[in-house]
Subunit: 387 residues, 2 copies
């Protein structure tokens, strides 16, 4: 086990009707608030009205910025920063999924920075100071509600890049599983895949003796897997929705990182895909993760055997550990297919055209991954395996 | 799953040599510090010198209060409160195990209260304000390093009582597994039992559909069980010590509480024992928990079957679920015995003399427990079962 520090200040407010507390929770941080959201779905569902009412009850002055798109755009982030600076906004409330929260985080980081916010994503500058953020989650997936990171897409070149800082962790996150009842099946499945991927990125490590975090990770994966079909078959099953929602937070709140070094190659390989093709991040991960696993499993066959056995209930064949390892990967692919995810690029009509370009862009800042360090050539091979 | 709020601000600083950072971590909270500890063991081990040096490097003015005993006493807490008031102390650093930390928390809660600190333990008053606390943990057991609670013994009547408040959560906790190498086997085993008990108190709940926290709890229990013998057989096994230490924190940082209602009868039944007999809390739990389980398992046989199967690898006998449930309890008893814990009162020379009196005292504030509500008569029966 490696030395680590761990803290997570985000106050989780979980359960039915919790969105009604958002005014009380927000007012602690100031009276001038930016309400950030995506399209019209929160207006249709009535969530927008509930939030506005709760904020007004606390006499909070509300400035609005909607229009966040999936794979949130740098241009809107810049617009948000200008608005916050002009209006001396003290607090940002993000109501939506991971894209809205990520957009809010980037705005929050940029307000007290004199340069261009994109500097944080290219490594030119580091985040030091952040406006406080609160969150009402409508899509369990990204785990951004209590994470330190944000991923933004720069339309100028379609670069999708990540940055992070402890100060970016939201102050509170309101999670009401009922708000996810109306999610289309495809989005539910993308979310499930995304949260599983967050765990897998941490699970495949070269650090030995990380038993507690291994077992906590396996526990969270099994819970997600067990509840995914329930939620898809019965979208208003509160308990299934609740298990998935809480798992999505745990998957990415850094608990499952403690004592180990994560990989994160697959996320970066996927970012190139959804950066160029505007593919849903979860769907991209369902395609890339199995391919990555097939490319790297020989690095530590026993770890893949443990994964197959403990997560997918594959019996360990002591005479053929490799077969056991591959059976686990295969079970995962079958699971993704069973929830309606693509597991090949063909299924989403992506051909070889940009493979070389994406592999080169993905490694612009050096090789990817930690479990196995991947060069542009390796990534090219992984895209080919994903065909 | 029940609605819940969850936050845990404690910054965990985990790993080798981390105690050297205690000065930097403390100075943020003030320049006048109470150093609180137990007997001479931290002086013998050199930890005391390391801590003092780290504090002095930050020019922190140190006031000392040693002498905390197991089952920490109210009289010393009162002494600590007077000292803090007289010297305008800003921060308390507890160096030791759960008793030292609990004593520090009670002092911290009492400093800004005009009445008698015992009021918090009788329910006469509630904690509202607390001095900030930091912790260097030397005994992994109580989980007090990131919990909100404290347990103090009032020598006037030997009442052992608990209280808690979010403000009591330590600001930081330094955990270096190396510091636990010199723990005697008996104390290691008591610690293992205590942390397992913290999970079990939460595990046996009547709330349905709490799959994630069930699985996270089982994961933590399995990790503790797997590493206990390793640590006992090889006290300087870093990885085994590290797994146990981190598990002890997770067992009691409220994560495993989320969405459910804990029981806590066994802890209270045990407190009467160790209040009167000055028995180690862990040893008392190894005796009381199996007796409690045998008394209550019929409340939810299936939950005990799940426990037997997932934690103790007992095969489920679908024709006799009760047998499976009892086999799990039996396996737990065998495990406690294998690590040198007593599992009967006879082994620690406690006879029936005080059973009635303890059962009455335990229920002074009403029946105990939530999984099954226990009257004084029930508790008397549990003491008899524990003979």
């Amino acid at each position: 086990m490696q030395n680590f520090t761990f803290s997570n200040k985000t106050k989780i407010i979980f359960g039915q009707d919790t969105e009604k507390t958002v005014g009380q929770e927000s007012v602690v941080f100031g009276k001038k608030l930016l309400l950030h959201y995506g399209g019209g779905s929160i207006k249709e569902s009535g969530l927008y009205d509930t939030v506005i009412q709760s904020l007004k009850e606390q006499n909070i002055e509300i400035f609005e910025l909607g229009g966040v798109k999936p794979n949130p755009r740098l241009s809107l982030v810049r617009e948000g920063i200008s608005l916050c600076k002009e209006q001396d906004i003290e607090f940002i409330l993000a109501v939506g999924g991971g894209s809205v929260i990520d957009s809010a985080k980037a705005i929050a980081a940029g307000v007290n920075y004199d340069g261009d916010v994109w500097d944080f994503f290219t490594g030119k500058a580091s985040v030091t100071d952040c406006l406080p953020i609160g969150v009402v989650v409508t899509i369990p997936a990204a785990g951004s509600e209590s994470s330190t990171g944000t991923v933004i897409t720069n339309e100028d070149g379609w670069y999708k890049r990540a940055t992070g800082h402890l100060a970016m962790r939201p102050q509170f996150a309101v999670l009401n599983p009922v708000l996810t009842y109306t999610l289309p099946s495809y989005q539910t499945a993308c979310g499930v895949t995304d949260m599983m991927a967050h765990i897998l990125e941490r699970y495949f490590t070269n650090v030995k003796n990380v038993e507690l975090t291994d077992r906590l990770s396996e526990a969270t994966l099994k819970t997600i897997i067990n509840n995914a079909h329930k939620a898809l078959e019965e979208p208003t099953n509160y308990d299934a929705r609740a298990e998935i929602m809480w798992s999505g937070t745990i998957a990415h709140n850094d608990l499952l990182d403690t004592g180990r070094i994560g990989d994160w190659a697959s996320h970066n390989i996927e970012h190139e895909l959804s950066g160029i093709y505007d593919l849903a991040h979860g769907a991209g991960l369902a395609i890339i993760f199995p391919a990555w696993m097939k490319y790297v499993y020989k690095q530590d066959v026993n770890r893949f055997v443990q994964f197959a056995n403990r997560v997918w209930d594959v019996e360990i064949d002591l005479n053929d550990l490799e077969r056991t390892a591959l059976a686990g990967i295969h079970k995962m692919e079958e699971f993704f297919q069973s929830i309606g995810m693509p597991t090949t690029l063909q299924e989403v009509d992506i051909d070889e055209t940009h493979f070389k370009e994406m592999a080169t862009k993905a490694t612009e800042r050096g090789p990817l991954g930690s479990f196995v360090k991947l060069s542009a050539e390796d990534i090219y091979e992984i895209y080919k395996l994903a065909r």
